[in-house]
């Protein structure tokens, strides 16, 4: 019944206009009004995005829900308003609409200053992020990609912690610097093909040297966003200073934009360069997994710890993508490579839920104690049993315990890594130890043991609103962990097609 609706435009523009409505209607003295409108808009957007899942045709790699203007948006540059989704982008859009509802709820009480602006920024950002996932025109993609920085810049800068100005300017400049090189690459591709259509780029043949340059330009943009070692340093700063909602969106969605970029741009547009430079990507991924895992171990700030763990987990995603070439060369069949790619994608979705849950949990503690330092806590389990039950579940998922969503993606990637090279799998598997160490050690120090001080003693357990947020996330984490088949099913055809593109030389 929704087949003829411009659903993608709706999920992009509904939150953007909704955000403007919030901005214009609610001033500080009408904070509750702004909150309610924001909740309404985000829930409606989520509901509108559900048909994208139910109406999605499995078994085809073609773009679906395509919208393309009859007339060019900007005729001088042949830029079209062209939207469409496949098995890669559709789950990410749903993750975005889902996470935004949680973020609006999470900021309900803890944000008291400029509520309307806060809510509006998140709604506008939601629309822009969906735009990135849905855009099939490179210029449109870039517009959404960059415009998204503006609300995030303000969110960290206005509602962030003490060093928020430093963190947010660093965040903006890092990502902006990465992106402009992508812009140059896109302009070059436009010059060559006369089009900004991403699908045209997929079919365009290039020399290896050109491919390598374009690959590197994309790499700068996406590596900053993922973030990959060594351009990851903005993330811990941004995470620590951002308000809870900002951290959630950063970890759950924004980091995925980088890996999504690899899937949509780097791999299919420059397959030969990807093959040529896969050693670099694998090395950076393994460094992220192992080295950043060690860094996470020594953190004293909970948010920073989770931020580093995010970088480490994102290393799995890029590893899963770029081992495909070696697996194919070793085994001669697509099967192992498909598993690696799908593992990376599942990891993207799963990390979206787990990191959102972790940051929201830390937000719950921070709202009560106004501290993120591990040493200020201890024995929280005695005071907040319900909360700690949830938190332990999320921590287990973060550590990759079987039965949780964190296990599925990591397991698939490690398993396929064995087919590429034993040592890749060995180093990747170290995360099972490292992840368990830093997460569970933190859990031990914060939640268990004797009640550490008077502040902890005064803690109250989570209220209904927080309970609902935790419950929904817990259900999702377990659902994907126990029954990942529907998710993988959606990705299957697109992954096969992507692999085909990756393995077909464009020289």
């Amino acid at each position: 019944m929704f087949a003829d609706w411009p659903l993608l435009s709706l999920v992009i523009w509904l939150p953007i206009f909704g955000g403007m409505w919030v901005l214009l209607s609610g001033s500080n003295d009408r904070a509750q009004y702004a909150r309610l409108i924001a909740l309404l808009v985000s829930v409606v957007t989520f509901l509108v995005s559900i048909p994208l899942w139910t109406g999605f045709e499995r078994g085809t790699a073609a773009m679906q829900f395509v919208e393309k203007g009859e007339q060019a948006w900007i005729p001088a540059f042949n830029i079209y308003y062209h939207l469409g989704i496949d098995g890669i982008s559709m789950p990410l859009i749903l993750l975005t609409t889902f996470a935004t509802v949680l973020v609006v709820l999470a900021g309900w009480k803890s944000i008291t200053r400029r509520v309307a602006q806060y809510m509006a920024a998140f709604l506008i950002m939601e629309g822009l992020m969906i735009g990135v996932f849905a855009a099939l025109d490179a210029a449109l993609f870039y517009v959404f990609w960059e415009a998204m920085l503006i609300p995030m810049f303000l969110i960290i800068g206005i509602w962030g912690g003490e060093r928020r100005v430093y963190a947010t300017i660093k965040f903006f400049l890092y990502t902006f610097a990465g992106s402009v090189f992508m812009l140059v690459a896109l302009l070059y591709l436009y010059f060559q093909t006369g089009s900004f259509s991403i699908l045209d780029y997929h079919a365009y043949k290039m020399d290896l040297s050109v491919q390598i340059l374009i690959f590197l330009a994309f790499l700068v943009a996406f590596a900053v966003k993922v973030p990959m070692w060594p351009v990851h340093t903005w993330l811990p700063d941004a995470h620590v200073e951002a308000p809870t909602g900002g951290s959630v969106i950063l970890a759950a969605i924004m980091l995925k934009l980088g890996t999504y970029g690899f899937l949509r741009f780097s791999l299919p547009i420059t397959p030969d360069a990807s093959r040529e430079l896969d050693w670099l990507m694998i090395a950076l991924s393994l460094i992220a997994i192992v080295y950043i895992g060690f860094v996470a171990l020594v953190q004293t700030d909970m948010k920073k710890l989770i931020a580093y763990s995010s970088i480490s987990h994102m290393g799995f995603v890029t590893l899963g993508f770029f081992i495909a070439y070696r697996i194919y060369d070793n085994t001669g069949s697509y099967d192992g490579a498909v598993m690696g790619l799908e593992g990376g994608m599942v990891q993207m979705i799963s990390h979206g839920f787990i990191s959102a849950a972790m940051f929201l949990s830390i937000g719950v503690l921070y709202d009560r104690m106004h501290s993120r330092a591990i040493k200020d806590y201890g024995g929280v389990a005695n005071r907040m049993p319900i909360f700690v039950s949830f938190m332990v579940l999320f921590a287990m998922a973060n550590a990759g315990l079987p039965g949780t969503s964190g296990f599925v993606g990591e397991f698939m990637v490690i398993l396929s890594a064995f087919k590429a090279n034993f040592w890749y799998a060995f180093f990747a598997a170290l995360t099972l130890i490292l992840g368990a160490s830093y997460t569970l050690w933190m859990v031990k120090r914060v939640f268990f043991g004797e009640v550490a001080n008077d502040n902890v003693a005064k803690l109250e357990d989570i209220n209904k609103r927080e309970f609902i947020i935790m419950l929904v996330l817990a259900v999702m984490v377990l659902l994907i962990g126990l029954w990942p088949a529907p998710l993988i099913d959606v990705m299957e055809a697109t992954t096969q097609n992507l692999l085909q593109q990756m393995m077909t030389s464009k020289l």
Partner: protein, 479 residues
């Protein structure tokens, strides 16, 4: 020779009308008491609008020459002139309250401003080296006097003096270049100059003339290394005058560059291209770097103007019609942003207080969320962040540079825009992240409020739908 026909004058009808109108305003202003000075203001605005109407009526598709080929009217001239009327209209509007609060609400501002507009129009429509010089001097002399309008202010007088001396040197250089070109080609008419130059390899003398002309152009545009006057003048002049200098004259300077280098010396493209590349790289780099060090917003915007000039040179140096069109697009976009930027400076200033220091922008979001948002649009647009107009302007010129095989230049451009992003972000940081020190509410007249909102929203709106303006520029250049 002697049969003077009316048809021959119609292309210049807007100029002729404006000249008459200025004289009328000048005379009427003599009889207006100080307290009724608003009459002069309305008359000036009316003159601009009437000139706009006349220009719209005289638009035609073909290129027309007039006054024995001294004067040309073509698509580019029409578009740029209309943009100049509109920009000046906005300048006059923004300036009104500012001038009144500082007791310099005099008829001279408006008559000089209008004379400047006339100079710009002549410059844009010049088809002869002498017409170019005539238009340029009319514009420059008006601006020198305007900078000195606040005659008791030391900084204005100093700025005016610097501007006059350096401007005069630049005019001298330009004139010297012209005289050499005349010596080589035996003609002052641009079409003749172009055909004489042809495609031959230039001799020493011709190169000499070319370089001097480019120096003159670079001076007027404010491209590095001929930019020294610009920050001092922007800072020293009354903000209303800075607003004027930073907007419409950029369009005229762009037209002057097209007339001289393209209409006159396209045969020497490969020779002037290299010079423009150097000017562009230096302007983008130095402009953005030095802007970071500024604590005065007018000075910061002046350095930002220098960097924008670097970007707009990128399109021209490609030597293609598309390149000229993108440069024109860039200039129009810049003028719109600059109007808004200095407009905000005026808006935050009040009697006895100039909002010149960056710290004056602290906490603007608390004082007025709406205008903080307007300023945010302008700053992000200048930084080249989508979806605002400034992004498309940068995209367009960079695309042209890449199309013409100068990938490295595009990379220099994007690197300098990363540097540039920092100081625009700092303004936003001050407005949104810092506590207000001065909590007095903004006070400005309703017309100013409406216009500045419209101005900023136009930057957003044209950023969402840049196709029309871009097509307009392409058609204007293609003729």
């Amino acid at each position: 020779m002697t049969n003077f026909q009316l048809a021959n004058v119609t292309p210049a009808a807007p100029e002729i009308f404006l000249l008459g109108a200025i004289c009328l305003v000048l005379v009427i202003d003599l009889f207006v008491a100080d307290k009724n000075r608003i009459i002069t203001y309305f008359l000036a605005q009316l003159s601009l609008l009437m000139t706009l109407v006349i220009t719209l009526f005289t638009i035609s598709n073909d290129t027309q020459l007039a006054f024995s080929n001294l004067f040309v009217r073509d698509g580019m001239a029409d578009v740029l002139k209309i943009a100049i009327y509109l920009a000046t209209f906005v300048v006059f509007l923004y300036a009104k309250d500012y001038l009144r609060d500082r007791d310099i609400f005099k008829g001279e501002f408006y008559t000089l401003g209008l004379f400047g507009v006339l100079g710009m129009m002549i410059l844009i429509s010049a088809h002869h080296l002498l017409t170019i010089y005539l238009g340029l001097e009319l514009l420059s002399l008006s601006m020198y006097a305007m900078v000195a309008l606040q005659r008791d202010s030391r900084s204005s007088s100093e700025a005016a003096m610097k501007y006059f001396v350096l401007g005069a040197i630049a005019s001298g250089m330009l004139l010297y270049g012209m005289s050499i070109i005349y010596g080589v080609t035996g003609s002052l008419e641009l079409a003749n100059v172009a055909s004489k130059i042809g495609n031959q390899v230039p001799g020493v003398l011709l190169s000499f003339g070319l370089v001097f002309m480019i120096v003159g152009i670079a001076f007027k545009l404010g491209a590095v290394p001929f930019h020294m006057w610009l920050p001092d003048v922007y800072q020293g002049a009354p903000t209303a005058v800075t607003l004027y200098i930073s907007s419409a004259p950029k369009l005229a300077a762009f037209a002057m560059m097209i007339r001289l280098l393209v209409d006159g010396m396209m045969g020497l493209h490969e020779h002037w291209q290299g010079i423009l590349v150097i000017l562009a790289v230096l302007s983008m780099g130095l402009g953005n770097l030095l802007a970071i060090a500024q604590g005065n917003i007018k000075r910061m915007l002046a350095y930002s103007a220098i960097s924008h000039v670097g970007f707009l040179l990128l399109g021209v140096l490609t030597g293609t019609d598309e390149g000229f069109a993108t440069s024109m697009f860039y200039t129009l976009a810049y003028v719109l942003m600059s109007l808004g930027g200095f407009g905000m400076v005026i808006m935050l200033s009040r009697r006895g207080f100039e909002a010149e220091n960056l710290d004056d922008y602290k906490g603007l979001n608390e004082r007025s969320p709406w205008y903080a948002f307007m300023m945010l649009i302008l700053m992000f647009s200048m930084a080249g962040v989508p979806p605002f107009l400034g992004f498309w302007a940068k995209l367009a010129v960079l695309e042209q540079v890449i199309n013409n095989g100068m990938l490295w230049l595009a990379i220099v451009g994007v690197i300098s825009s990363i540097i540039g992003a920092f100081y625009y972000l700092r303004i936003i940081k001050l407005m949104y992240f810092d506590k207000a020190e001065d909590t007095s509410p903004l006070s400005s007249s309703p017309d100013m409020q409406v216009m500045i909102s419209f101005n900023s929203l136009a930057v957003l709106g044209l950023g969402l739908f840049p196709g029309g303006l871009m097509a307009l520029c392409i058609n204007a250049i293609a003729g």
